[in-house]
Amino acid sequence: GKWKNKERVLIFSSRGINFRTRHLMQDLRTLMPHSKADTKMDRKDQLFVINEVCEMKNCNKCIFFEAKKKQDLYMWLSNTPQGPSAKFLVQNIHTLAELKMTGNCLRGSRPLLSFDPIFDKEPHYALLKELFIQIFSTPQYHPKSQPFVDHVFTFTVTDERIWFRNYQIIEEDASLVEIGPRFVLNLIKIFQGSFGGPTLYENPHYQSPNMHRRLIRLSVAAKFREKQQVKEVQKIKKKGSKVLIKEDPTEVVFETPAEERPVEIQLVKPESKPIVKDKKKLRKIQRKKQKKLFRTE
């Protein structure tokens, strides 16, 4: 058939990504035959430069991975000339190469896309759903694609995040095995333009990773401070005002003066006790002596 759907996705990243992100990027490139790769973008260029890069490569969609602080990974999904675009925080990445993912699929086969019903209920989710559909589905009759449908992408919303899974279809009765990769997307913002423009939607449940780390540190500090405070309170309690009891006049009744003892002054040093190294031996000798006496009696 004729290849009409000319979707092209540019997948690339910024500098400073770690091995896991790099593998994820490569996995996405293998799974999506309609993708194009590009070199790493320099940090100093601003984001709208990406639009020009896409223009040069003749792509109309883009997946851009941005790594910050060598810890946090952000993913931009964008429709390049006019937008919209969305920024996500990516977590829990597992790549194709993990040995627990035992499934396999044809390289370039077209996927089924499966969405949670929630994607239809909210407008921002509906927008994201459309973006996902256009980016992740392989166009029909693409020259690099295979004609069979043998795997399934699932997008599920749980815990205010979007979970992505990829399963291989083994049998017609829908027995599935996971191929990988897997990741979790935490939506930050949706913009009207591509990599910029007015904000269409901001996720209220989103907490930046810095904030998250800060909160953890604060909680630990708070615990410590609390312990200190408790200690201080205890100290104060201990020192605190002791109640003065009034003197009881009837108490004197029970006082009996002690007997006077003659004052003895020792002039001669008392003889020192013999140093016994082995008390048991001494006792043994004593017993023997007693026995002897007993016998002779």
Partner: protein, 227 residues
């Protein structure tokens, strides 16, 4: 362009995101529902879904990778099997030991019974050679041996049990000690033999000096005199 997209109506109200297994199962079920819905539609649209066996093409994961995965799975399974086998061996050994001790005990019991039966026969208590036939299940109450008009009771049950346990040899340990009865029992004293009086056995006559052994003192005297 046919975009195969489907939604699954799964109620995920009770899915706890922290419970990994539950969460993954819900994803799995969503995918399954999607597949079950989509495959008939694809078939209707004549999009092929099953790969024929002779269709070889490049896969998303290389063959090397799949080999590694297979190896890992195999090693895991082998480890499990080994542990299972070890457990079974241990259980079997325990059982085998129990069985063996039972067999030994049974053998000893049989031997004891056999010996008792032989002893009985030797002592003349029972003139039946039944013990030669393997099955011997008789009660051992017939001590006197005249079993003809024996009442079933015989000796006391306690007595019978003790006889069975301690055998017909009788009490072995104290057998050579003197008891009051055996001491006072002078039935085996023959005065004529002791004093060597009375007629000789085959009419021999004359003293048999050897019959009467002199006492210790007399012997000593004889010895000293002989020197």
């Amino acid at each position: 362009v046919v975009d195969p997209v489907s939604q699954s109506a799964s109620n995920k109200d009770a899915v706890d995101p922290e419970n990994d297994f539950q969460r993954e199962m819900s994803f799995y079920r969503q995918a399954q529902a999607a597949v079950l819905e989509a495959l008939p539609r694809l078939r209707k649209l004549q999009v092929p879904t099953r790969r024929p066996d002779d269709y070889f093409a490049e896969m998303a994961k290389s063959d090397q990778q799949m080999q590694k995965i297979r190896q890992k799975l195999k090693s895991k399974q082998e480890a499990m099997e080994r542990s299972e086998k070890a457990k079974q061996l241990r259980a079997m050994r325990k059982y085998g030991k129990k069985v063996q001790t039972e067999i030994l005990q049974r053998r000893q019991k049989e031997k004891k019974n056999m010996l008792n039966a032989v002893k009985k026969y030797q002592k003349g208590l029972s003139d039946k050679l039944d013990f030669l036939d393997e099955e011997q299940a008789s009660s051992q109450g017939n001590k006197k041996g005249n079993a003809s008009q024996r009442i079933k009771k015989g000796p006391n049950a306690k007595r019978r049990y003790k006889n069975q346990k301690f055998g017909f040899g009788g009490k072995k340990k104290g057998s050579k000690w003197n008891t009051k009865e055996s001491f006072n029992d002078v039935s085996s004293f023959r005065s004529k033999v002791a004093h060597n009086k009375g007629p000789g056995k085959a009419g021999k006559g004359g003293k048999k000096a050897l019959n009467k052994r002199p006492g210790k003192r007399a012997r000593q005297k004889m010895k000293s005199r002989a020197r």
